[in-house]
Symmetry: C2
Subunit: 319 residues, 2 copies
């Protein structure tokens, strides 16, 4: 039996979102509640289950309609356990799939948000019809995923394809993850912010301080200043963009993809970041074979998590 509909769950640090996804990509019955992670995993999971029950009732779904959950990681998709995540404080080895299946009369599956988003782009997004995809989620951190010949790369513990945590420079800055020289330590929102805060302590940084108007200097402020032509801000985004382009070149050698999709909030910086990146890509990938890979922006926007969770459920449970 082919699945008609699934339920997608986008579990975030602030909100839980739930929606019904049809096989043709139609999204309906979206619902949302606060995560309130401070109440602990069991309360959050009960809240997810209740929201799923509401949505399923509204949509008249049969119990055959399964659930896909996109969660921050690290997590193990094979055991359905979320190990820990900075976005959900206090979570440690939470068996979210077992617990949700205990509350619901439905099959449940789990993957990290970057991998889900990659599947979402392949099934419903700009990578439809492609089977070799690199997806980069540029946000506060950098997540993403890789599909090769239709198969998601996720390794022995489902932890693989942490493409934000691959090497850009052996002599680079230490990343939040503990590794040295990761892409994330150059091009994530936090890394752009850290560079901006260094600049802000110098005379070059006056405009950043003005634009922040007493608030935090973040990547958006840097982008605004750069768009005005503020040279130090342009240089900050060039540094990030150059690292991103070098990493993308390396991913092309590594994965021979048909398409590279850029998503996440920092992608909104657009060509201020991606312009320098595009210039670098050919310098870091094979001259002869691989300079023609399209690097495009995701079109799924804020619904990437829901589409991704739905795509995961279709992939895992479709007959």
């Amino acid at each position: 039996m082919t699945l008609d509909k699934v339920i997608g769950v986008d579990l975030g640090g602030t909100n839980i979102r739930v929606a019904v996804l049809s096989a043709d990509g139609t999204m309906s019955h979206t619902a949302r509640t606060k995560t309130k992670s401070e109440e602990g995993p069991e309360a959050v999971i009960r809240r997810i289950a209740a929201l799923i029950d509401d949505v399923a009732a509204d949509a008249n779904l049969s119990p055959d309609a399964p659930v896909g959950v996109a969660s921050p990681g690290p997590l193990n998709p094979r055991t359905g356990v979320v190990h820990f995540t900075p976005n959900l404080p206090g979570w440690r080895d939470v068996a979210i799939v077992d617990q949700l299946e205990g509350h619901l009369n439905r099959r449940v599956t789990l993957a990290n948000d970057g991998n889900c988003a990659t599947l979402g782009e392949m099934r419903f997004g700009i990578a439809q019809g492609k089977h070799n995809i690199v997806y980069l989620a540029l946000g506060t951190g950098i997540g993403g995923g890789v599909v090769t010949e239709g198969v998601l790369i996720d390794g022995k513990n489902g932890l693989g394809a942490e493409i934000g945590h691959t090497l850009v420079s052996i002599d680079g800055p230490r990343c939040n993850c503990g590794s040295i020289g990761c892409l994330e330590a150059y091009a994530a929102g936090w890394a752009i912010q850290a560079e901006a805060m260094k600049v802000a302590t110098t005379a070059d940084g006056d405009r950043l301080v003005e634009l922040a108007a007493g608030g935090l200097i973040h990547a958006g402020i840097v982008a605004k200043a750069a768009a005005e032509g503020h040279l130090a801000s342009v240089a900050i985004l060039e540094r990030a963009g150059r690292a991103l382009g070098a990493a993308i070149g390396s991913f092309i050698n590594m994965f021979d993809p048909e398409i590279i999709v850029i998503g996440g909030g920092v992608a909104a910086l657009g060509e201020l970041l991606m312009g320098p990146a595009r210039k670098m890509i050919p310098q870091y990938s094979f001259v002869d074979m691989r300079t023609d890979v399209p690097v495009v922006y995701s079109q799924l926007g804020g619904d990437t998590g829901l589409y991704g969770a739905g795509a995961l459920a279709f992939m895992m449970f479709d007959d």
Copy 2:
């Protein structure tokens, strides 16, 4: 019908080797002839076909026994075409699979030597029973392959997992492939040799010049000097080993493998190279999750190509 036997072909710049591989890993009826690539692709392919016919007759193989060919790349395993390769001068877009099938009454399949070797390690070598494998062939260049959940990563053109050509440093040396800062530009035989030749022009390099005794200074000379305690040679191998370790750390984040296998001639340098590499790995991979991945040497030795070609044939044609 399950396959009992296949024919493996290891096509190299100097020799063509052919053997019969049984499903249990027994190798028999090995044969060898000179490649003589200067005679052009058609002559070489006729020579391969003749050697296969000899071996098949000796081994009483039925026409059902298929052929796997391990060849230097770049090549396209889906079309069976070798694009070009420095080891086979003058080859350009050679349809080796079609041509061999024209000579033989057998099915033929093709993959690059690094990918074949990876499959060989999984089916017959030290990675038996593992499904998430990174294999590095450290030779004059650096090849290799990646298997994730049993699936070989090879991308849209079968070119993927060129793990020798992934980024070690955005500010690194230019690689022979044209990209900047590749692992190969640090740790391949040619890169070690290039460093040694720089050192040899200085007072620090006297011992290298002595050991070379008028011949070329190559990686083996550096290893010999390093084993004696020659500081500049130790430093050359440390530089290469550090890059290798950083890249392996990054591969761990990328692929979440169960095992990393080191093969190829340069692997014979052993712990002179791998010692510094092992020290670096934890600095370049996730602190909490992934520092326990075994990094081991291949045990297949000079027969890696034959085992790999056989493993490819079993994978592609076994029912």
